[in-house]
Amino acid sequence: QVQLEESGPGLMQPSETLSLTCTVSGFSLTSNGVGWVRQPLGKGLVWMGTIWAGGSTNYNSAVQSRLSISRDTSKSQVFLKMNSLQPEDTGTYYCARHEYYLFDYWGQGVMVTVSS
């Protein structure tokens, strides 16, 4: 049974670095990519980046300069780090499994608020 679960701090201050973890089960990170998708409150879905089964990454150019995605395959974990947080980074962050270039399984999401 494929499962993904995001974890991380709920409240961040502007200029801080966000660190989120996606723990997966039911599949291997060397078989499927995992992407991160953000949803600002009351708004739509925005793909942020992906780490592929082979370990390479792709990022959305809108956040590329601030974003890093990595993984620990032995722990079945994918990590998101994003620096220089601003209030507009507030939203729900989802990790999702890739089936090729689509997202077939999603975590429940973690809400992140950036506020002073």
């Binding site: 992407g35 793909w47 792709n58 090729y100 270039y101 999603w106």
Partner: protein
């Protein structure tokens, strides 16, 4: 970057009616369009994948069509439980882009 334009932004339908949602892309993406349902407070759920393929367990009331730049998502005989927001997503090229969503209300 492929822009995905989704319409309408919202729909209010009665039980049993037919729902149609459109997504148009700024580039030709063959049939690399996917459709998701997001119910209130939940994560998105994949309903239909590339090639207009219904995912396992998804009722046949849901369907899609289209190729190239014009795509349509359809729900026949809409039910109360179909309320939510529906998104399209192109999987032809990076960056992966989503439509802006269609909020479906059942009267």
């Amino acid at each position: 970057e492929t822009t995905v334009t989704q319409s309408p932004a919202s729909l209010s339908m009665a039980v049993g009616e037919k729902v149609s949602i459109s997504c148009k892309t700024s580039t030709d993406i063959d049939d690399d369009m996917n459709w998701y349902q997001q119910k209130s407070g939940e994560a998105p759920k994949l309903l239909i994948s590339e090639g207009n393929t219904l995912r396992p367990g998804v009722p046949s009331r849901f369907s899609s069509s289209g190729y190239g730049t014009d795509f349509v998502f359809t729900i026949n005989n809409v039910l109360l439980g179909d309320e939510g927001i529906y998104y399209c997503q192109q999987s032809d090229n990076v960056p992966f882009t989503f439509g802006s969503g269609t909020k479906l209300e059942i009267k």
